[in-house]
Structure formats: structure tokens, C-alpha cells
Amino acid sequence: MRVAAEADLLAAARRGDPDAFSALIAPLQGRAFNLAFRMLGDADEAADVTQDALIRAFTRLRDFRGDASFATWLHRIVHNTALDALRWRARHPADRLDASFGDGDPPREVAATSEGPEDAAVRADERRAIERALAALTPEFRAAVVLRDVQGLDYDEVAVITGVSLGTVKSRLHRARARLRALLTSDGTAGPSSTSRVVDGGWTS
């Protein structure tokens, strides 16, 4: 039933019905936005990139042949658009006044904070540390860990989305995790004792 509904929506969206497309992407746009957000580190930019990618997907829906799932295809477009944005950012550093990663307003978080205020502070510090470590990775490595570890996708899906082979995905993952490990350890965030250093912003991207 659900599959049939998706096929109907897809057919209508292919004919150019924007409402059908909206319905089709409704369950996916949150994940798409999070992929862009984790790759770019900036909520506003991620929103722009996600919107751009979704409109691009709508106008290029004819190119979707059903080889992969629609979600994977959509993620691929978001991933590529985010990479384009990162490359564009690398070429135009002067155009971004707030170029440092992870600055700006943090997005509203879904995680319910039923824990105590101290625990919450520690968790927030941990989160900032891992976000800064992610920012230090190259875009390709970051994409691999975001897709696999943050979003929990299969290796196969990651390979399709990033457009590289399975072996490359695993190799990138291994090296990205090793790099994150090194960054977090050298930063001393493994234990709560050094939390204050991280809050001060021990290193920048």
C-alpha cells in the first residue's frame, strides 16, 4: 500500500505536480537537511543547500530511473549539492564572513533533556568537540562518517550516494574515524576533566 502510494506520488511529481513532490519528500526532507547540516556545519547554509537540492531533484525527476531507492537518489543530490557548496566556499573564502565551522545559532535539538544540568553541559561539550573534529575532516571523509555513523546508512547506500566504490567507502570510513580519534584524543576531550578547554574553543577549523 505504501509502495503503491509512493509510486503514484512519483508519477504525479514526474508530471510536474509540486504538491505530489512535497508529499513524496515530506518523510525525507528532515534527513536530507541533517545530511547537509552535518556536512556544512551551518544551519542556514544547510537549509539553503537542502532547498536547492530538493528543487533540483524536482526538476530532474525524469533522471530518476529507480535503480536505487528514491531516498538514496535524493540523498545523492543533497550530498552533491553540499559538496558543490563546500567547494564554492573553498574558492570564495572572502565571501563568507562567518567562515568558521559550527558557529552561528545551534539548531533546535530533538533530544529531550531529561538529565541533570551538569550531565547536559557535559553532553553539549562532547557534541561541540565532535562537531569541531568533523569540521577538520576533508569533505569526502566527512560525508562518509556522516552518512554511515551519524545517519546509520548501509555501506551500499553510502557508496551510491557518494558515487564511489564500496572499498573506497570502507577505506574512507576507516581513515576518517582514525583522524577523528586522533583529533579528539589530542584535544583531550576523552575525559570530562578537560571540558573547559574545549568550551573555550581550543582549536579552530
Binding site: 510536474g16 513532490f21 528532515g30 542556514d44 524536482f58 570502507k170 574515524r177 579528539l184
Partner: protein, 393 residues
């Protein structure tokens, strides 16, 4: 254990495909640290979509949907770019043609096309598969043939338009005609008779044997008035393969020469008067010298004028007489079977080679246009597909 094996083991342990206890002791720390990294990555909270995101997206999607019909079904099709580029080229070529020949009337264009057609028909016929390229070749040929055809056309009606000038105008006419005849020798004699009958003569002739058959070339001089009749009767001797005519109006040159002659004659009269008045030998010798120079010039001019008179009073006609070419017939009603087969094959091969070379010529002719077409198509494609820069932060 190599690095690759360690990497694989670590990954399998992380994915739960390998029990952690199976890893060597020195990798336990690495595994634990990596697990912590993966755990904190997984713990990263999912961010909510910014407020108003869905409404904005919906608006943009409606805009994109509204823009879709204009982009059309095949907007990405390379044929469309090619078509647009071709249309552009055709319009540009049309504008160029009109700009170059603003006076070209419909009737004249048709006449020009008819004149050009026999020469280019084989090319167009055999290169039919080249499509628009051969059509372009036809119009190009018509255009290139225009100036010569126009002068040819202008020469003919001129005397009719101004009959008074005919007797005074000095026009040197040249004609050439190639005729295929059954009996070259008989036709050769007949051309001589025809020239005499037209009031002219044979200025030169040549009869030679090539490839086992006779070929004749005759240069006849006939009065201008009898030129048309003479060429017609020569054409009647056989089948005309080619025929051409050109004329050179030397009236202005003739008038100039006569003017200079009169001036020189006046000069001579003056010198003769001086000579009779010369009081000493030295003066007489000087005048005599000048007189000799003037008379030499008068002589030269008189010769030139006479030459023009002769040339313009008699037209020169080059007659080429060719034997009937042995037409290899497909039905092959003569010769042994093997020979017929051979000639059929040779004939077919000749046609194929001609068609092939014509096709190559057509393609080469079209090449610059195709390159131009490709460049314009590429530019259009690039323009339509150029990347929008990511939105500024």
C-alpha cells in the same frame, strides 16, 4: 598482521561481524577508542528543519513547476540546441545573402539556378544522403554562378536595347563548342565548309589520333553576324557536350586609339611645317628625329586599330570534335559475356567512386558549417546548463 588486515578486522569488529575478543590485545585500545568516536557520532542530535522551510520550499517548487512548461519536454535534448543553432545559421545566411545581393529578383535567381543546375546536378544527386548539406551546396553554387551568368545575360540583350550602337561598337566575340560526332573526319571537313558558307575561314585546325580514335580541333573565323548560325549548324553535326561564348567590348579602347592617332597625325603635320621652315641643318635634323618618332607611334597605333577592326569584325570559334564515347550499356547487347561483366563492374565502380568523391566534397563543404553549428550548440548547452552558484551564506 598487515595494515589492511588490521583495518579489515577493526571494521568487522565494529560492525559486529567479528567478536571483539578475537582481536589481538594491541588493537583493543584502538577498537575502544573508535567505538567511542562512533558512539559520539551516533549521539549527535538530529537538527530540526528551520522554521518556515517547508513553506518556502513549497513556494519554490510551485515556481519551478510553473517554469517547467516553458522549458519543455525536450529542453535538454541536444537536438534542440542543434536546431536552434541551425535556425540561427539559416537566418544569418539569409540576411547575409540579402545584404550582398539586394537587387536579386526572383526571376533572375531562378534563371541562375537553372544555369548552375547542369554543372552541379551530379554532386547533388549522388550526395542526396548528406541532407541539408547538399541543399546548401546547391544554393551556394547558384550564388557563386551568379556574377558570370549575369554578365552573360547582360551581353546578349545589349545590342537589341541600343541598335544604333551596334555598327559603331567594337566587340570581340569568342565562342567554343565541343560536339560528339559519329565520324570525326567527315565532321572536320564539314566545319570547314560551314565556315566558308558563313563568310569566314579556318584559321587553324588539328586532327589527331588519341586512344585509337580521331579527335579534331578547328579554329574558325566567321563574321560576327553569322556566328549564331555557324554554331547552330556545327551543333547539328552531333551531340553538344559543351558550349560557351564570351565577348570583350573594346569600343572604349578603339576610341582611345583613334583619338591618339588623330593627335599624333596633327603633331606630324606640325612637324612637317617646322621642317619646311628649318633655316639650318641642325634644326632640320632635330625636327626630322621627332618626326620619325611620331611616325613610328602612328604606325604602331594603326596596326593596333586594324587588329581590333579585324578581331571585332570576325568572331573566333573553337570547335572540338570528339568521337562518340563507347557507352558501356548495362544491357550489354554486344561483346562476350565476360567482357560485359567486366565493363558492368567497371561502370558500377566508376559511378560508386564518383558518388563517393562527391559525398566527400559535400562533407568537406559542410565541415566549417558543422563546426560553427557545434560551437553555437555547445554555447547554448553551456548557457542552459551552467551551474548556479550555491546560495551565499
Amino acid at each position: 598482521m598487515t595494515d589492511t588486515e588490521r583495518e579489515l578486522a577493526l571494521q568487522q569488529a565494529l560492525d559486529g561481524e567479528l567478536d571483539a575478543s578475537e582481536l589481538p590485545a594491541d588493537m583493543q585500545d584502538e577498537l575502544a577508542a573508535t567505538r567511542r568516536v562512533v558512539a559520539s557520532l551516533r549521539a549527535l542530535p538530529a537538527a530540526d528543519l528551520p522554521a518556515g522551510f517547508e513553506a518556502r520550499l513549497r513556494r519554490h517548487l510551485h515556481q519551478a513547476a510553473a517554469a517547467r512548461p516553458a522549458r519543455g519536454l525536450g529542453w535538454r535534448s541536444p537536438w534542440l540546441y542543434g536546431g536552434v543553432a541551425a535556425a540561427f545559421l539559416v537566418i544569418a545566411a539569409g540576411v547575409g545573402l540579402v545584404a550582398v545581393r539586394p537587387s536579386a529578383s526572383g526571376a533572375k535567381s531562378a534563371a541562375v539556378a537553372r544555369i548552375a543546375a547542369p554543372f552541379h546536378a551530379p554532386l547533388i544527386g549522388s550526395a542526396g544522403s548528406a541532407g541539408s548539406a547538399s541543399g546548401g551546396a546547391a544554393s551556394f553554387a547558384a550564388q557563386s554562378a551568379a556574377p558570370s551568368a549575369a554578365t552573360y545575360a547582360a551581353a546578349a540583350p545589349a545590342p537589341a536595347a541600343s541598335p544604333i550602337d551596334v555598327s559603331q561598337r567594337k566587340i570581340i566575340e569568342n565562342a567554343s563548342i565541343t560536339v560528339e560526332v559519329a565520324d570525326v573526319n567527315a565532321a572536320f571537313q564539314r566545319v570547314g565548309d560551314l565556315a566558308t558558307k558563313a563568310g569566314g575561314y579556318i584559321a587553324g585546325s588539328d586532327l589527331s589520333r588519341q586512344d585509337g580514335s580521331l579527335h579534331a580541333s578547328v579554329t574558325a573565323r566567321v563574321p560576327s553576324g553569322g556566328l549564331a548560325g555557324f554554331t547552330q549548324s556545327v551543333a547539328a553535326l552531333g551531340t553538344v557536350i559543351s558550349q560557351g561564348q564570351s565577348s570583350n567590348d573594346v569600343t572604349q579602347q578603339y576610341i582611345d586609339l583613334n583619338g591618339r592617332l588623330q593627335a599624333l597625325q596633327a603633331e606630324r603635320t606640325a612637324y612637317l611645317g617646322l621642317l619646311s621652315k628649318a633655316s639650318n641643318v641642325a634644326d632640320a635634323l632635330k625636327v626630322q628625329q621627332a618626326l620619325t618618332d611620331v611616325e613610328a607611334q602612328i604606325e604602331s597605333l594603326t596596326t593596333q586599330i586594324q587588329s581590333l577592326d579585324r578581331l571585332s569584325s570576325l568572331a573566333t570559334v573553337n570547335v572540338m570534335l570528339e568521337p562518340l564515347s563507347a557507352q558501356p550499356s548495362l544491357s550489354g547487347n554486344g561483346g562476350p559475356f565476360g567482357k560485359r561483366l567486366g565493363s558492368a563492374l567497371a561502370n558500377s565502380w566508376r559511378v560508386l567512386a564518383a558518388a563517393g568523391s562527391a559525398l566527400v566534397v559535400a562533407v568537406v563543404w559542410a565541415l566549417p558549417w558543422l563546426v560553427l553549428l557545434a560551437v553555437i550548440s555547445g554555447a547554448l548547452f553551456w548557457f542552459a546548463h551552467r551551474r548556479r552558484g550555491p546560495p551565499a551564506a
